[in-house]
Chain length 315, copies 2
């Protein structure tokens, strides 16, 4: 029996779920080699600029496969529309039957992406956080912060955005959550105050350089998910004590790691996978002064885990 | 405003549409270089065997992009379920907005595939047809024949299938359409009588050899859509006067052409695209005695054209 859920229904179910353990288990299965995740499908548009990603895959010997379509059309804001969009489809692995159409409008992608940031911070953030730094005052700039809330007691935030208006909107949304929000139009200022930084922008040019960073900083770079997007200067990955990919296969061609590889500033052999750290096959952070970077490009196993949980809720 | 159409609604709209001109225009746009069609996404399953194809793309400077998911789980028959399944999604190229979820269960893929067979026959079939030959007594074995009906006056059919039961079912369905149906369990027997043959099976080993064919035969091979599937011995493509691909990019890695290429029996330079023939940039059949082969792997531009037509019907 096909279930079609709209965004409101999904929002309600999502409020009852904790995505962090789901995503943790997804990364574990992925790094155990239990997941079949082909290369990401991509459609790029120029006028207006937009990118569409099709992520799909399955965990072997389980019930489902997932196909997720997510788009980012960053000029939608001018039309009063959200920049992110999309849906998830869940199918039966034994018959191909379509089980669920999750018309989430991108909120499931948002949720699983924010949860991945929390998983990365759990294994890689230093113990003492001076301030939380957020680059990008959009949806992920908010959700990443809130996903960290249960695990990071620090309530001081530095946020960088493109203009005063979006920074003020960010402040209005986030201060009621118990945070002190400091805003800036200079990304370096975020790095000067924060040792746990999340980058959540669609930037195509580095926003941070190695010399901007405090000792012992962890950065979760989740904005870059194409070969072109780039938030961190490759010098940061070169200097880092630990560089972690959500998926080595994807990061070889997409995101910060791919940028550093193309410049010969990083050796893929030295890159750990988040799932390997969860499984204790590779170490996470081992000292307060280490510079660590998690590069999250978004893996279909995350989509599978969140779609499955929504589908199975109350069914 | 999102439109969600179920299979029954789509069937009704489909009965009002003529897919052949839509698909003809799609192939033309494709061969004019106006379409952006990335490589096919694929998920393969072993137990039970199944394949899922994700086809997606757009025509530049138009309104839509399409994502189509189609599956074939060939043991579904044992469960009383159709082997083919799937849906199509239509989005706005300017914003990423989801416009339509077409829960077609695969019938739109069936229809656009059958229409492509008709387009191939229009440009490649000989004038005088001795009998129509169909390999595969499944859904496409029926639809391909019916798609040829308006253009091919011949009403004598030879059909090959896996067993007597499915052949008798085929006969029962097709004879009321005005055809004389001859059935056989030997594929060569089809070729011995027919000079317009459509192969519509999921076979992984050749069903026909060059020496089986009548002079002047045209074969539309539409079953093989993966690198592994194979209906024609590469000797047929080697001997053919004209080999036509729906998409050279896809046929390089999938279907009959890819098999012949891997065996060094065919030169990709000699392969025309169906769209090039429609556009009269390349010749079609130029003589009654020529052996011609059209290899159809299924191109997202077909999905785009049919999804668009269904969406725009009455809207």
């Amino acid at each position: 029996m096909l279930k079609i859920l709209n965004q409101q229904e999904i929002e309600k179910i999502l409020s009852e779920l904790d995505p962090v353990p789901l995503i943790t288990e997804g990364f574990s299965a992925y790094s155990r080699g239990e997941a079949v995740i082909p290369p990401v499908g991509e459609l790029l548009f120029e006028d207006p600029p937009g990118d569409v990603h099709i992520k799909y895959g399955y965990i072997k010997n389980s019930r489902y496969y997932v196909v997720k379509i997510a788009s980012g059309f960053y000029q939608n804001v001018r039309l009063g529309l959200p920049s992110g969009n999309g849906l998830m489809l869940l199918f039966d692995q034994k018959t191909g039957e379509l089980l669920a159409v999750l018309l989430d409008g991108g909120i499931l992608t948002d949720a699983r992406t924010a949860a991945a940031g929390a998983v990365a911070a759990r294994y890689l953030a230093p113990d003492q956080i001076s301030a939380l730094g957020i680059l990008g005052a959009g949806v992920q700039g908010r959700l990443q912060l809130l996903a960290l809330k249960p695990m990071i007691p620090c309530r001081s935030v530095w946020v960088w955005g493109l203009n005063r208006d979006e920074l003020e909107a960010y402040r209005r949304d986030i201060e009621p959550q118990g945070y002190t929000v400091n805003t800036t139009l200079e990304a370096q200022e975020v790095a000067a105050h924060s040792n746990l930084i999340v980058t959540a922008t669609p930037s195509r040019a580095p926003l941070l350089q190695a010399q901007d960073l405090l000792p012992g900083t962890h950065i979760t770079a989740m904005g870059a998910d194409t070969p072109e997007k780039n938030e961190l200067d490759p010098g940061i990955l070169e200097k880092a004590d630990l560089v972690v990919a959500d998926s080595r296969a994807q990061c070889r061609v997409r995101g910060e790691i791919s940028q550093a590889l193309r410049q010969g500033r990083l050796d893929m052999e030295a890159v750990s996978e988040l799932g390997e750290i969860i499984l204790e096959r590779k170490p996470g952070r081992t000292g307060e002064d280490q510079l660590t970077v998690a590069d999250l490009t978004g893996v279909a196993v995350q989509d599978l885990q969140i779609a499955k949980a929504v589908y199975e809720y109350q069914s």
